[in-house]
């Protein structure tokens, strides 16, 4: 039986400084002290600065991850001279365009935009190849007086602001008695839908796939869509399929915190291999709650509040086409219930076990993709360099098994060769291994190496239902038909 292949992956980034105030931590702290928003606002980046930021150019595919090793640091002070809002792996829009896309994704009049602003935003989006005429028509505004009245007279609405502090609209609930449909939750979910939809449309267009031919879309994000009787019930996958004109598709969501995308890839690949569905898309929308999560550390160091970008992705999987990289379903690594939560046990389950099964050594995998969080965001706020820690763990295990010499010199060499600097916005599940997949696809197709491994971990304990962690992994292999 042929193995499933990954045909295409695309990312969609939105620079949304005005929405940073709606991230979970800023929301709580602005509520307690209104001056916090002014402090944050003074450290928000311009769109140009966000686009010219080297890690974002790596996300878009205009730079390689390893280019960051030689890019002058700190990257937030050394903007690139050459940059673009689009690249071979995706695109990045500004906050005005994203507000328009929120309105376009809204089928329940949850988003109101001021009429002059709506007209301007619609004009900006009119020539975008993946925004439909019907959506442009939907980006209609209302008089500012109505927005003011709605924000001041009743509960159940939150303002939408731009980076410069102007109120340009609002998000409202149509059912104030339901906390699962509160405006901040609806904003979060609409942002998820908008980012995932734009990524899926891009994947379909770039791969030359007729949307009507797709049969299944799996949502893999961390959002909780549903009303009070079914909070988190979903189903983003099908909502995104509808918004992407996949009229013959259905879908469902896979939930597993940050490692849901890897779980979803395995589920999707299995559906393809079994022949249940010939092609399956995996989507992951953004994580708005994480905007500004580490703002306090950034303000303390007087550096930009860098969690100002939303990110979504979409992957298209299909049967073996003789060229696309293969998802080795026989290489799936699982962190089992009985494995325990010690880091060593997790890495053994996710890395060593799959390698053993395929008869490979640690060094046979050219590049490992782990949580690809941009260290400039995390390290400056006391959370450490997440990818480097993970790569060192893999190296330590390789040393323990005698596959590389012990000692920091050998460890650092392994990390440099088989790892890479983190470059992803801290967008939860989106950052988990997936950002490297687009680069790996290029490398595997070009024959630069044979294997790349993708591993992700999830903090299940955050939901208070278990003390466990989670993790899953798989290996992608160059297609032998391409040789």
């Amino acid at each position: 039986m042929s193995q499933p292949v990954v045909r295409e992956i695309r990312f969609f980034l939105a620079h949304t400084p005005g929405l940073v105030r709606h991230g979970s931590k800023p929301t709580r702290e602005i509520h307690a002290n209104h001056s916090v928003w002014q402090d944050i606002r003074g450290s928000l980046r311009s769109f140009d600065d966000a686009v010219a930021y080297a890690p974002h150019q790596v996300m878009l595919g205009n730079m390689q991850p390893d280019d960051l090793n030689t890019a002058e640091a700190p990257w937030y002070e050394n903007m690139l001279a050459e940059y673009s809002t689009s690249g071979p792996h995706g695109e990045m829009v500004n906050e005005d365009q994203f507000h328009g896309l929120l309105k376009a994704a809204d089928e329940f009049d949850l988003v109101l935009l001021e009429e002059g602003y709506a007209t301007r935003v619609a004009a900006e989006l009119r020539n975008h190849p993946r925004v439909t005429d019907e959506e442009i028509e939907r980006i209609q505004g209302v008089p500012f007086s109505r927005i003011e009245e709605r924000l001041s007279s009743r509960e159940g609405a939150i303002p939408l602001l731009t980076r410069d502090g102007a109120t340009i609209g609002l998000v409202q609930t149509d059912y104030v008695d339901d906390p699962s449909l509160a405006p901040d939750i609806l904003l979060e979910n609409l942002a998820v839908k908008a980012t995932a939809t734009m990524a899926l449309r891009s994947v379909l267009a770039e791969s030359g796939t007729d949307p009507a031919s797709l049969q299944y879309v799996i949502g893999s994000g961390e959002e909780a869509i549903g009303d009070r009787y079914n909070r988190g019930g979903g189903n983003l996958g099908k909502a995104v399929a509808e918004a992407s004109a996949c009229v013959n598709s259905t879908g469902a969501d896979v939930k597993a915190f940050c490692c849901a995308p890897v779980h979803a890839m395995v589920v999707g690949g299995s559906l393809v291999q079994s022949g249940v569905f010939p092609e399956v898309a995996i989507v992951g929308g953004c994580s708005l709650a994480k905007l500004g999560m580490k703002y306090r550390g950034h303000l303390a160091k007087e550096i930009p509040v860098m969690e100002d970008v939303l990110a979504g992705f979409a992957v298209l999987m299909g049967p073996d086409d003789g060229t696309s990289p293969v998802l080795r379903l026989d290489s799936v690594g699982r962190h089992t219930v009985g494995a325990g939560s010690v880091q060593q046990a997790i890495v053994e389950a996710l890395v060593a076990d799959p390698l053993d099964r395929l008869g490979l050594k640690f060094g046979d995998v050219a590049k490992y993709a782990t949580e690809m969080h941009n260290p400039e965001i995390t390290d400056t706020a006391g959370s450490g360099n997440v990818p480097r820690t993970n790569y060192r763990l893999i190296a330590a295990l390789a040393a323990q098994r005698g596959e590389i010499p012990t000692g920091s010199e050998s460890r650092d060499k392994f990390v440099e060769e088989h790892g890479m600097p983190g470059f992803s916005p801290t967008q939860g599940h989106v950052a988990s291994a997936m950002p490297f997949m687009a680069h790996a696809m290029d490398d595997l197709k070009a024959g630069e190496y044979q294997y790349s491994m993708f591993l992700a971990k999830g903090s299940l304990f955050l939901g208070r239902m278990t003390h466990m962690s989670d993790g899953e992994s798989f290996i992608m292999e160059a297609n032998s038909g391409a040789e």
Binding site: Q343, Q344, G382, S383, T389, R392, L393, A396, R411
Partner: protein, 86 residues
């Protein structure tokens, strides 16, 4: 009473160590301005490591010794203890 830390960076270890000795340095948590003066150690420090069953330490902790910036973490802990006299 001893406070035992397992935080992954020198910076975070220092914040937690200061929090339980001289009070929350960020002045936002419940221990802001409250100097508990508790002795505080990191699990990677020799004083702690030597008290473990060596086999348990190897299984549960030792791999992280080679992953984290252990020397920096130990330095940070000692500096906090020296500064506040615990």
């Amino acid at each position: 009473m001893v406070v035992l830390l397992g935080s992954p960076t020198a910076e975070s270890a220092e914040v937690y160590a200061r929090t339980v000795t001289e009070g929350d340095p960020s002045w936002v948590g419940p221990l802001a301005g409250i100097a508990l003066g508790l002795p505080v150690f990191h699990v990677l420090e020799e004083e702690v490591k030597s008290q473990f069953d060596a086999a348990v330490y190897k299984e549960q902790v030792s791999i992280m010794e080679s992953v984290l910036d252990t020397d920096d973490i130990i330095d940070a802990m000692r500096q906090v203890r020296d500064a506040v006299g615990v």
